[in-house]
Structure formats: structure tokens, C-alpha cells
Symmetry: C3
Subunit: 268 residues, 3 copies
């Protein structure tokens, strides 16, 4: 029978063309041949901690209890930055201590962070460039075999955490947010959640609103992508509940010249 903690999900900026991914898979399987290794993505832009945090934040909730996530975008590898493990009620998260787990820290089920300093769970020789293989992979392997997280190191509270950008109220009738992620289709995902609009609509007593970004204004949400003509733009509530600017069967980033950080404002 499969062990309860045998799922190890990988979210990295290693790309898929080099020896990085193969090495960490080999290390994990060497420790636990029954580990079930799942590629989430290895195509986080190089050194882009925010994108790694975002992708992890949008996927981990769908994984079953006891899943182990190994997440790496690590420009500070080899420096004094620590290797950490965050634990929620249900899952384990291994990452460098650089803010990558900031979305996890916001989870109501977030419990604690352990500094992974029990070096006997590392590979025997640890280099300065590839802690994913030398530290995170073996720790994930041992964790998947049932070693208690407490044995991996000491609890800490001074881990690095960055502020996940939140929507802001401007007066009583305006809510402003921004584009926080652009996917491979060119869809521009904002940090405005559908619940934010509903709450604002209730507090203003107004069901009608206008949504503006750059020189564009949209006065209603599209129910789905194909509800506007091919090549036309719209805003949908995406699968995670966030407003997403799209161009039907095309690339909103390119067509509308949008980028991460672009402001979006809803006026009721």
C-alpha cells in the first residue's frame, strides 16, 4: 500500500533542459522508491520568487492531505539564507527562506515553520549551488518515508514573508487592484476576487459598476471567454475566483499591452 505522505510535488525554476530536475528526482527515489513525484512546473522564470509563490499558492489547495511540496526559486542559494519547512494542518512545504511560502503563511490552516538544520538528513556532501538536490530533495524523501518534521530542525518565527498585494478601497465607491500574474495564454490575472466585488456591491447598495485599466473600460463581466468575439477583450472570474483580463482566443498581454503591476479599478 502507498504510504500516506508519498506525494512529492515539484514547483521550480530549474527548467526542463538540464540535469537539475533529474538529479532531485533520483535523490528522492533513492531514499524512497515509493515516492510519487509530481511535476507541477519547472518553468518558473529564473530567480522569480514571486511567480513561484503565486503558482504554489494557486495549486497546493488541490493536493491531498500529507502532500509534500518542494518549491524552489533561489537566487540566494549557498548564502546564509535558511532552508525551511512550513507545515499547515494538512501539507508540508519545503523551500528557501526567501518569501516563496508567503501565500502558505496566509492559509488559516498554517501552523508553523521549521528551520531545516538537521544535517544528517542532507546528502553527505552539500555544495553551494544546488540545495534542492543536496538538502530539499533528501529531506522530502525522508519526510515521505514518515520521519517526523520535528526531527528535521528547530521551529522559527522570523522567516521571510512578503506582503501579498491586496485590493485597496479608494473612498466609498472605488476598489483598486493590480495584475499579479500573466499566464501562458496571455490572460492577465488580477488580485481582485469576485467576493471583493460582491462585498463592495452590498456596501454601496449598487449592482452596477465599471472596471477600468489603462484606457480601457468594461461595464460587465463576461460569463466565459467565448462570450465575446474572437479577438475581443473581456474580464472573467477565473477558476480561482479572481478577475482575469482576456482576449478571446488571443493574448491579452500583447493585444492590450499589459504587464504585471498594471492597475485595475472598479467604480460602483
Amino acid at each position: 500500500m502507498d504510504l500516506p505522505k508519498n506525494i512529492i510535488a515539484l514547483t521550480t525554476d530549474f527548467g526542463t533542459s538540464d540535469y537539475f530536475v533529474g538529479s532531485i528526482k533520483g535523490v528522492m527515489l533513492g531514499i524512497n522508491p515509493n515516492a510519487k513525484i509530481i511535476d507541477v512546473t519547472h518553468d518558473i522564470p529564473s530567480h522569480d520568487i514571486w511567480s513561484a509563490a503565486y503558482i504554489l499558492g494557486m495549486t497546493y489547495k488541490y493536493f491531498p492531505q500529507y502532500s509534500i511540496h518542494l518549491a524552489v526559486a533561489d537566487p540566494g542559494v549557498g548564502s546564509a539564507r535558511r532552508a525551511i519547512m512550513a507545515i499547515t494542518d494538512k501539507q508540508y512545504f519545503l523551500a528557501p527562506d526567501n518569501g516563496l511560502l508567503s501565500f502558505i503563511f496566509e492559509d488559516p490552516d498554517f501552523s508553523r515553520v521549521i528551520h531545516i538544520n538537521a544535517e544528517h538528513y542532507y546528502l553527505p556532501v552539500v555544495g553551494s549551488t544546488f540545495h534542492a538536490r543536496d538538502i530539499f530533495a533528501p529531506v522530502a524523501g525522508w519526510l515521505s518515508k514518515g520521519v517526523e518534521p520535528e526531527k528535521m530542525g528547530d521551529e522559527i518565527t522570523d522567516y521571510v514573508r512578503f506582503a501579498v498585494p491586496k485590493p485597496k478601497k479608494e473612498g466609498e465607491t472605488v476598489l483598486s487592484g493590480e495584475v499579479v500574474y500573466i499566464d501562458k495564454f496571455g490572460n492577465c490575472i488580477t488580485n481582485l476576487h469576485f467576493e471583493d466585488i460582491r462585498t463592495m456591491a452590498e456596501s454601496t447598495g449598487s449592482g452596477s459598476y465599471s472596471i477600468a485599466f489603462k484606457e480601457t473600460a468594461v461595464d460587465k463581466l463576461s460569463p466565459f471567454y467565448a462570450s465575446v468575439k474572437k479577438g475581443e477583450h473581456g474580464i472573467v472570474v477565473n477558476g480561482n475566483g479572481y478577475l482575469e483580463i482576456f482576449v478571446n482566443q488571443s493574448d491579452a498581454r500583447r493585444v492590450l499591452a499589459l504587464k504585471r503591476g498594471e492597475k485595475i479599478r472598479i467604480t460602483f
Copy 2:
């Protein structure tokens, strides 16, 4: 022991850089931790139903009995287009009802199509942009756990099916086809099967023929890529039995300026 239906093979246009692939894997593992998830490809060109259909058509026969295929290129996601499951004698195919399963419908072992409308097998909340996660992934998970396909919805016969382009006879001595797919090496795969040539050779009583495309003519098949000099072109019978225009160790698409739909004619 592994369950008989635990293989779930993924063919999508989601790319590998976003949260799409991780989310659907998480959902499937949440329902069936023993699911064996296999990446066929996530690099179908965005919204390209034909390419998804082609890749699925060229791979599924190699999978074992009871494999479940989840295939998505879905420009109409969220609209009225249905979610369907095709069943052959041996395998299960989950896809949007947009023609993506057209190659499956041509399989002699193709049995029937079910409209996946039993919503209790969906995720509790279904959005309008990500049915792969909200509908197809959970249905694949339950199917892999042994839920009978009949419980997933009602049989339909009016599913969308497009015509797979077939070779055409022009008079008694000419067979014409076209380039239907170009692979990452730049090899241009046609819809002319080696059996078509054999049949035509028998009916014309002629073993000699000339193959022409654009301004190029070739008077015999190459036994393998390296049988012509590096940089020279030829035509081989590829691994699936189809004529394939290649340039040895180079890119036929670029060198010969070919594209999908390019005509190719065999004259006996």
C-alpha cells in the same frame, strides 16, 4: 496492487509554466491517491484542437487497456459546449465536445459517447474558465477509482466530429494528400499512409512513382533519415506508417518552407 484503471494520461494546451497542470494533478490525486498520472504533452499550441486531436490519435493506441485519457484544447470553455467521454473497447477519453476526439471516433473499437452531466462527480464549485480542473480531473479521478462510466452521464450521438483529411485519388494514377502535422524536428508528416501507396501500386500495376510537393520531386522513399546526406531532404515512412518529409539533421519546415496543409502528390 494497482487498480486496473489507474493510468490517467494528459494531453493539453496548458503549457507547463502555469498553475493549470499542477491543479488538475492535485485534484486527481485528491480523489485517487493511487492514480498514475502520465504527461503526454501540455505543449499543444494554445486553442489548437486539431493538434490535440492529432497527438492523441497518434499516441493512444500504445496505452494499455483501461487507460483514461484527459485531453483538452478548449477555446469554448464555459460556453454551452459539452464535456464528453468517448469509450472504445479498451480505453476512456475525456474531452470537450469540440471535435478533439475525432480520431477516436474512427477507431474500429469506438463504442459510444457519454455527455458528462452527472454534476456530483464535478468539483463542488465549477467556474467558467477551467473545466479541466473542475470537471474533467475529478471525473477522471472517480473513473480511475472504478466508478462506472454510465454513472457519469447520458449517452449522446450528436457529438461534434470533424472530418480527418483523407488522401484523394485524382484519376487512375495520382494520389494526393497533404501535410497534417509538423513535429519539433521540423519533419512534415502527411496523411499518406504507406498502405495507400501499396494499394495504388497494385491497382496501377506500377511499382515506380514520383512524389511531388511545391517545386520538389522525389522518386523514391528513403529507408531512414541518415540515408541522405546531412542537410538534404527525403521522404520516409514514419513510425506510424505515414509519409514524412524530412531534411537530415535539420528542419524541413524551414529549409523547404513547408506548412500544414501543403499538398503532396504521388504519380504512378
Copy 3:
């Protein structure tokens, strides 16, 4: 319980956009549904035997005993070049006989090479363009089910092997090497191992040295990437023990205009 040989690791130049990878996975699972298929990489540059050899060489040691590696970059597919299996004390390597396994042949635990000519372990029909699917995948499948390697064919000793470039001593005080691989971050990995420097330092009795490449000279190793400022260059000992030229949080290949084969010299 998992079978001891059920891990099959894939290192290929097939890309991830076509039907190649899906087909070989299907074939292996058809023979052994319990095979544990691991993607090392499918993004070896097309036909680049050296890169395939290098990536395999840098990853295989991390895999557990009895792992099976299927490695393909095969410009000569379909020609007279043979399909071979190399066996070390611990692992199995399936590849075309074109030098791809040259790093394996240098392993002290390398034992022997078998010409895979027992055709009853092939797929029933073998084409000329896709031996990974028609020969290597089924052989990997059967091997993973416990078929003895000796049954797959006859031992040979005249397999193709290329010289892995080694550092050269120039007089008593200079050691020269070259860039042998460039990773996706643009880090330029040389064939100079840290042990080479240590040995040379001992023999010269000198602990100080200068490392030069192109017009650049570096007089000490960096302990880790982030030990120099963002955008500045340095040389680290990488995770495999080799000197690696980097630019912190940027791309050394581009910034320093380096390429594979670029000379690097250490003067004591």
C-alpha cells in the same frame, strides 16, 4: 510491493510537444503497468548526442540501484547503428550506439555492453524513424519486469565511445580546461573539477592561482552565486564539483559572450 527494477528514467531530445514521449510511455506501461516512469528531460537539443551524454552523466549517479535509463539523441536512427544496453554494477542504460553512453563507460562500476538484438523483445513492427518506441521502450518495459539483460542480446566490445574532454597540464603551473555545458540560467560549466585544483595546488606547493577565460581573470573562487553583486561574474564550484562561470542573477553566456568549447586556464 514495487518491483526492484521498476524505475525507468527518460533522457531524450524528443521535446514535449509531439507524440514521441506519450508513445514511449504508453508502450512501457502496456508491458509493465507498474513501471515508474520518470522524466529527466526531453529537451536535449535535437540530435545533440554530447548534451544527452552530459545530462545523463550528471544525473544517473543519484538514481537508486536497478534504475533503468532510456536515453535518446539519435540522428542515425534506422541506419546500421546498433541499439545497446550498458550495465554498471547498479543500473541499466539503453541508448543508440553513438557515444551517448560515453560517461557511463568511464564509471568504475561499468561492467559491459549488450547489443540489443533479441527482436522478440521489440514491438512487432519496427519502423525506421522511431526506435525509442519500437525497440528501447519495449526492452525497458521487459527489463523492468525482470527479464534478464543477457536475454536481450549479445555482449559486444566494439561500441562507439567518444573521449570526454579532460583538463590538460601545460607545464608545471598551468591547468587548462574548457566550457563543456551551458545550463538554462546561462551558467557555463567547465570540465575543471575542484579536485584538479587541489591536486595542482599540492604539486606546485602554491595555494594562490588566477583563473582566466577570454579577456577575463578571476583570482579566487566565489563561495556561492550571491557572494558577488547582482550582474557581476564569478566562478563557483558547482553541485557536481566542477568550476562554473556565472553572473549573479543573470546569464553568463550572454553577458560574457561564452560558448561551449571556450578555454579556461588556471595559473598557479
